[in-house]
Amino acid sequence: MTKKKELTEVFIYPDWCKGCGICVAFCPSQVLELGPDGKARVIKGKECVNCGFCEYHCPDFAIVVKTKPLLKNYANHAQQGQKAQPQK
């Protein structure tokens, strides 16, 4: 598993997120936070070390950590995710 930054991007399906905060609390790089709508959102995407903790531990299958080569396949999802969850 790579630990290099900037090779991954974290996506969240807000519809499925229940805002439990596990991902926020345990992310080693503080990539995520709970937004004003109570759902997780990405704040420091570039800090992601691709440890996968958030994805494995999301009880609602709402987080996807995508490595760059795969990103193209997820363009649509990414757009949707950004619409609902604008990054700052």
Binding site: T8, D15, W16, C17, K18, G19, C20, G21, I22, V24, A25, F26, N50, G52, E55, Y56, H57, C58, P59, D60, F61, A62, I63, V64, V65, K66, T67, L70, Y74
Partner: protein, 277 residues
């Protein structure tokens, strides 16, 4: 990572509404993810997997997965699974139960399934409480902790599922928490690979019904508690003995080989047919 969640999505029922019914932070979803990853890792087809669930929060899990799923009566999931496995040993039968389900109302079936070594993998999601009915004490509610039916603290001792399974003769007994998800994946994979009765206990937090009443401010605090207190067996062995009691050992406790009941049955059948011819 993305391929992981993508594959989980592949195993979910696309015509079911998500998110699932479980509370925010409930560890049951993590176990479900772990189970799906394990099934995928072993290359099992959706058709050969039968997921049998009991009643309670854990019982609601099966319906979301695109396997053969059977949602049974309270506490009796193992009996259904026994019938299914004996009727068709080619199926991979996995039983998901809660702690109240498996050990209180279903305690009898649990010890006998372990004793007869029927080829099913029993996954007990232990959240120390009856979640679905609103937080009453179960047989694994720790002594002195508060629940709706033990407002002054639980007076009874609680079951240690691992010890119980060992005593009942289970040949594979393992425990993890939902925080230690890599370990959970590993022990579920091993359990699914093995013949006979395999027990996996997954400690999963229930903040809504248990944590709130027992000094956990948020569900995250419960995960932090696991992080602090759940220790792999080898790490636990290094601790001074005085400190061990407060910790929860995780890992593989028993791993032995033995013929499963359905295998023995096949042997009996061929013996009888040889005798007849």
């Amino acid at each position: 990572m993305a391929e992981v969640t993508q594959l989980i999505h592949h195993y979910l029922r696309h015509n079911k509404k998500f998110p699932h019914v479980l509370c925010p932070g409930c560890g049951h979803g993590i176990v479900l993810g772990s189970l799906v990853r394990s099934i995928h890792q072993l290359g099992l087809t959706k058709d050969e997997v039968v997921l049998v669930a009991g009643i309670g929060c854990s019982g609601r899990i099966a319906v979301y997965t695109d396997f053969n799923t059977v949602h049974t009566t309270h506490g009796r999931a193992l009996t259904f699974a026994t019938g299914i496995k004996m009727a068709n040993p080619g199926l991979k039968v996995i039983v998901i139960m809660g702690d109240g389900d498996a050990l209180s109302i279903g305690g009898n079936h649990f010890i006998h399934a372990a004793r007869r070594n029927i080829g099913v993998t029993a996954l007990i999601l232990n959240n120390n409480i009856y979640g679905m009915t609103g937080g009453q004490s179960s047989s694994t509610t720790p002594q002195d902790s508060v629940s709706m039916t033990t407002p002054f603290g639980q007076m009874e001792k609680s079951f240690d599922i691992v010890e119980l399974a060992k005593a009942a003769g289970a040949h594979y007994v393992a425990r993890s928490t939902v925080l230690h998800v890599k370990l959970l994946d590993r022990i579920i994979v091993t359990a699914l690979e093995r013949p006979g009765f395999n027990l996996v206990e997954a400690l999963t937090p229930c903040h809504t019904q248990f944590g709130r009443k027992n000094k956990f401010k948020t569900v995250v605090d419960m995960y932090k508690w696991y992080k602090k207190n759940a220790l792999p067996l080898d790490a636990l062995a290094k601790l001074p003995e005085a400190q061990r009691n407060a910790r929860v050992p995780i890992g593989i406790f028993v791993q032995e080989e033995a013929h499963s009941l359905e295998d023995r049955y096949v042997m009996l059948r061929s013996r009888l047919q040889e005798g007849a011819s």
